[in-house]
């Protein structure tokens, strides 16, 4: 749906978001109500209070509140929490705009540069605030060992080969690289970054706890989509989306270089993101794009 048409009214936007997020794998449902004070989005788990889905949603709520209160993702906004977590869900304001993956199809070059600058600023802010002392190398190693064990016995033989080889490659590399602790969103993907038309403001949704706190998880997850394409759009992105994504990637790469983070590191963090996502992926197009991204990384670096 075109960027311009989508912004006519928040009701159609709300419906679009419901349709889009019904594709999600969080196990929660979304509903939108239109009241006098504006649209209100409620996210709820339909599992029991002690169920892991509900507990996960509660953690997400706590992270959401923390980000909102401390401005941890500035200049990227987050929806305003309207109702505190109660029972099995909570409410927030409707995030304006379209998912980045969709917006890329119609953004001008200038718009994509604006988006890239904001993303770059978020990365820089988080890395500036990173701990000089605390590292997450132990957690990275542990996670890669878990992933390695998973891929060794994965039923999908092609994924097993690619995943195992990638996990081994990352283990070898990260064992020699210092990875400092820093804030992260946790699932910084094309569907969780909303782009407003006009102001090009960015709003982040759907925060997740990651196995360890490092901004590089966000960098990797975004890079995975920037280079592989957004699966919802199909196997091949439109030329406009590809060019806009490339523009954003170049800007981000430049911003990260200041922190000693080179292209290889970024690619490896994208590979890490792919290894995390693949085990939960059922859609064949999405899985195909993940396999493609992982295979390309192996091709270049092994």
């Amino acid at each position: 749906m075109p960027f311009e048409i989508m912004h006519r009214d928040s009701e159609s936007q709300g419906k679009f978001l419901i349709d889009l997020f019904s594709l999600g794998q969080s196990g929660c449902s979304l509903s939108v109500e239109y009241g006098k004070t504006g649209p209100r989005v409620t996210k709820q788990s339909h599992a029991g209070i002690d169920d892991k889905i509900t507990l996960r949603l509660h953690k997400q709520y706590l992270k959401h509140v923390r980000i909102q209160e401390q401005g941890l993702m500035d200049p990227i906004s987050v929806p305003k929490v309207l109702d505190a977590f109660s029972g099995n869900g909570y409410s927030m304001s409707l995030a304006p705009g379209l998912p980045l993956g969709l917006a890329l199809n119609t953004m001008s070059r200038w718009e994509s540069l604006q988006v890239a600058l904001k993303l770059g600023q978020y990365f820089e802010t988080s890395l500036d605030a990173a701990s000089a002392h605390e590292t997450v190398n132990g957690a990275v190693t542990l996670k890669l060992e878990e992933l390695s064990a998973f891929y060794k016995v994965a039923r999908d033989k092609q994924l097993s080969i690619i995943g195992s080889n990638c996990a081994n490659m990352l283990r070898a590399y990260f064992s020699k690289t210092r990875i400092g602790a820093s804030f992260n969103h946790g699932d910084f993907s094309f569907e969780n970054i909303m782009v407003s038309r006009g102001s090009r403001a960015l709003t982040a949704l759907d925060f997740l706890d990651s196995p360890f706190e490092s901004l590089l998880i966000d960098v990797g997850r975004l890079w995975l989509d920037l280079n592989g394409g957004w699966w919802i759009e199909g196997l091949n992105s439109s030329p406009t989306a590809t060019l806009n994504a490339r523009e954003i990637a170049v800007t981000i790469e430049t911003a990260l270089r200041k922190f000693g983070i080179d292209r290889r590191q970024i690619d490896f963090w994208a590979c890490f993101a792919g290894l995390r996502v693949a085990p939960y992926t059922r859609n064949p197009t999405r899985l195909a794009l993940l396999k493609f991204s992982l295979a390309r990384t192996l091709e270049v670096y092994s």
Binding site: D156, K157, Q158, L159, I161, I162, G234, L235, N236, R282, N283, P284, T285, R286, L287, A288, L289, K291, F292, A295, R296
Partner: protein
């Protein structure tokens, strides 16, 4: 495991005004329906999906095809319609696979050939490709095929399009373990929606580079219908023959003759042999025409059966006069579609008249 038949191409090698897969096979079904019937068993398939374009199906009764396929195979059959023609089989497949919600294993079968193989053999492998030996098919046009080299356990070690690297060529039946694998392979090839023709073998090659193994499965029964010439050559082996009895397959007799009347049958052995060979090919339908009266039907049927004809068909009581054959011709049944052969009475050299008219190869 799904059986997918891509049929969305432009049929550029078949300038006959309609997609090649809709052409009538001599056995009364479309080319596509016949192309599916080479499998000896369908138990390991759960569905047949024909991927084509809406424009291809313009004016076509879809249920005639799908219902027939279902009745012949015991499987549900359906069309998946694309809005535009595609530039390659790979594009056709990725367009279909990209619409799925679940990762499936599938066999892709070309719509323009007949291959004898088994769904069971294919289901036993993660990935497989059916091949044939050039020595078994000397008439095959080698430069148009993709060739394979086999290693231990019949695993495909090398696969090259349009270069003869071995005597084994791919026959257009390939099993893929998952839709996501296929799409990942095609993405690695850098396939765009309007690119040059990319072949299935190219994707297989890309997947082999990712570590996938393809098992080679041989077939010894293969018909290629990939061009109009090949199709016409194939269909020319089929014919309906209306053959007179007296003076052609038996020495001439007469109703009023003492020794050679309509109860008698003195065979012209060579001519009979020629016709029996044609019938044995399974591709020639023979109708015996005669002026002998209907009163002698049972006798004549028995005689012909004793000569070796299966359930002989007789048109009897015809006038003792000129016989004229009339048939329509078209691009797919080209001129002349009706042929008359006049043989000298009681001569035993029918075979020489049939050369160049009916392919005498079975």
């Amino acid at each position: 495991m799904k059986l997918i038949v891509p049929a969305a191409g432009k049929s550029t090698r078949f300038p006959v005004g309609r997609p090649k897969w809709l052409l009538q096979h001599p056995e009364g079904v479309t080319m596509l329906e016949k192309s599916v019937l080479g499998f000896s068993d369908f138990e390991d398939f759960d569905e047949i999906i024909i991927v084509t374009t809406t424009s291809h199906l313009d004016g076509v009764n879809r249920e005639t095809i799908t219902d027939n396929l279902s009745s012949l195979t015991g499987l549900d059959a359906r069309f998946f319609e694309l809005t535009q023609q595609t530039a390659s089989v790979v594009e056709t497949l990725t367009n279909f696979l990209g619409s799925l919600d679940e990762d499936i294993s599938f066999v892709v079968k070309d719509c323009d050939n007949y291959v004898a193989t088994s769904s069971k053999l294919l289901s036993e492998q993660d990935n497989a490709m059916v091949y044939a030996d050039l020595h078994d098919f000397p008439e095959v046009s080698a430069p148009n095929k993709s060739f394979i080299e086999l290693g231990a356990g019949d695993a495909i070690e090398n696969l090259v399009e349009k270069r003869v690297i071995s005597g084994f060529f791919s026959v257009g039946v390939t099993k893929f373990e998952s839709a996501s694998s296929f799409m990942a392979g095609s993405k690695l090839l850098g396939v765009t929606l309007s690119g040059a023709e990319i072949y299935i073998s190219d994707v297989v090659r890309a997947l082999m580079q990712l570590g996938s193994t393809f098992k080679g499965i041989q077939t010894t029964e293969y018909e290629d219908w990939g061009t109009l010439d090949l199709w016409r050559s194939f269909t020319s082996r089929y014919a309906t023959v209306f053959v007179d009895i007296d003076g052609v397959i038996a020495t001439n007799s007469s109703r009023i003759s003492d020794s050679r009347n309509w109860t008698s049958f003195s065979p012209l052995e060579k001519n009979l042999g020629t016709l029996l060979s044609l019938e044995a090919s399974g591709k020639v339908t023979i109708f015996f025409t005669t002026s002998r009266s209907e009163l002698y039907r049972a006798t004549l049927e028995k005689t012909l059966a004793e000569q070796g004809f299966q359930a002989p068909k007789l048109i009897m009581g015809l006038p003792h006069a000129q016989r004229v054959l009339i048939n329509d011709f078209s691009a797919t049944n080209p001129y002349p579609s009706a042929i008359a052969i006049n043989v000298e009475r009681d001569s035993d050299n029918l075979e020489s008249y049939l050369h160049g008219i009916i392919q005498l190869k079975s």
